[in-house]
């Protein structure tokens, strides 16, 4: 017997933000780091900053740390992003 069954997914889901245009080069640019504040991020981002500056010629690196590592970035951090050419964010344990 044929069954008619329903789609359980969120067909009304809202579309998230679109990625910004990729810069052709990071030379002379400002890169922002959004750390979730966990212990392991310090060494990771410090190493990444060295690589960005020495190998890719990044001029400035801005560090921001979320007040709650399980919640979205604070409004003042989101506001800061418009001053950057690229941003690195994500999980760090």
């Amino acid at each position: 017997m044929t069954l008619r069954v329903l789609d359980p997914t969120n067909e009304a889901r809202t579309v998230g933000g679109q990625p910004a245009a990729r810069p052709a080069s990071l030379r002379g640019k400002t890169v922002g780091f959004i750390s979730n504040g966990k212990e392991g991020t310090k060494g990771y981002f410090a190493h990444l900053e060295r690589l960005l500056r020495t190998e890719l010629g990044v001029a400035n690196v801005a560090w921001c740390t979320k007040s709650n590592y399980s919640a979205p970035a604070d409004a003042h951090i989101v506001d800061e992003i418009k001053h950057w050419h690229a941003v690195v964010a994500g999980v760090g344990d």
Binding site: L3, L6, D7, T14
Partner: protein
């Protein structure tokens, strides 16, 4: 021509040959928790909506971080898949209303590597109406109602919020409560106030409490009738959790089964007395981290004291469990106070409450 007064369902329809084909469709699309599901037919879903008095497009809420709308129809589809009958559906709705309150931090709770589950506690007349069993095996497969309600929350997270392992769900380990984690309080066999009443819901109303929780840690103390000694065992388990898992205070639940409950009640202790005692006893010094291999993060704050609870009100005391055995359970929070337990009256409009803008 006969006109139907029921509003049409909006979800996309799939036609499959039979029950087995339905299973393969849902598994192949990643729409299950790995177990077989009840095929959500139009009739079954419509019956849930009718029972709750909701049109298909009724907005149950919007998840605050990713702004995803949750409709009654989509929630009903997932509830049917979990095995819910129409009478279970209002509980699922209320639980989701609670989960979408900002203080619950649903996104963090479901995305975290910590791997918690949604612990659900039922109170009020609805427990009996739906046949929930608050006694034997209360935290396990105690009955149909709690099994399917807990499962419905997980399936809806998977399908409505993309909380799939490796997707939004980044859990390192997770725990078995992620299949279903629902308990009914044994209100008939205790002198204590129901949890929902302790948390401000009028007596006699049905309610659901949701809490982002780790796996239960079972305790045993069959060798005393003294409330302080019994509760010291619970407090010790909470201290162990602070040392081994997270030192930070948050909502803990303790489930006290009949045998231990009888001793505590006979001595005249209320839930408030229990909470105040536990608050005082469940605390550790940061230096204790050094005893369990975490000396690197003690630093110069070794003498700082961390309470498992920010205050006595943060303890959820639940009467449940079978009649014999000196057992209880500590249900720890996902991670300190980053998430708060939420209690919602079933059938109430959460966002209509005074003070909600």
């Amino acid at each position: 021509m006969q006109l139907s007064l029921k509003p049409a369902l909006l979800a996309k329809i799939y036609e499959v040959e039979d029950f087995a084909a339905a299973q393969e469709l849902y598994h192949s699309k990643g729409w299950t928790d790995g177990l077989p599901v009840v095929p959500p037919t139009e009739a079954a879903v419509a019956a849930c909506l009718e029972w709750a008095g909701m049109p298909p497009d009724q907005l149950i809420g919007i998840e605050p971080v990713r702004a995803q709308p949750i409709s009654a129809e989509k929630l009903a589809i997932n509830a049917v898949m979990a095995g819910c009958l129409p009478m279970h559906f209002p509980v699922v709705v209320a639980a989701w209303q609670g989960m979408m309150q900002e203080e619950f931090l649903l996104h963090g709770v479901t995305a975290s590597t910590g791997g918690c589950a949604i612990f659900v506690i039922l109170n009020g007349p609805i427990r009996r109406e739906i046949g929930a069993n608050p006694t034997f095996n209360a935290l396990g497969n105690s009955d149909r109602a709690t099994a399917v309600i807990g499962r419905a929350l997980r399936l809806a997270l998977i399908n409505l919020m993309d909380v799939r392992p490796g997707g939004i769900d980044r859990s390192t380990l997770g725990h078995p409560g992620k299949f279903s984690y629902c308990v009914a309080e044994d209100e008939e066999d205790t002198t204590w106030e129901p949890l929902s009443v302790v948390r401000g819901i009028p007596s006699g109303a049905s309610a659901v409490t949701v809490m982002a929780a780790m796996a239960p840690r079972q305790i045993m103390n069959e060798w005393t009738r003294e409330p302080k000694e019994i509760l010291e065992t619970f407090a010790a388990e909470m201290r162990a959790n602070q040392r081994h898992y997270s030192i930070h205070g948050g909502n803990y639940a303790i489930v006290i089964a009949k045998q231990l409950r009888d001793h505590i009640e006979a001595a005249g202790w209320t839930k408030r007395d229990i909470a105040e005692f536990i608050y005082e006893r469940a605390r550790v010094r940061r230096s204790e981290w050094a005893d369990v291999g975490k000396g690197a993060v003690v630093r110069d704050r070794g003498e700082s004291v961390y309470t498992a609870l920010a205050g006595p009100d943060h303890l959820l005391v639940v009467a449940a469990g079978g009649p014999a055995g000196g057992f209880g359970a500590v249900v720890p929070p996902w991670l300190g106070d980053k998430t708060k337990a939420v209690t919602v009256a079933i059938g109430a409009c959460v966002d209509c409450a005074p003070g909600k803008g």
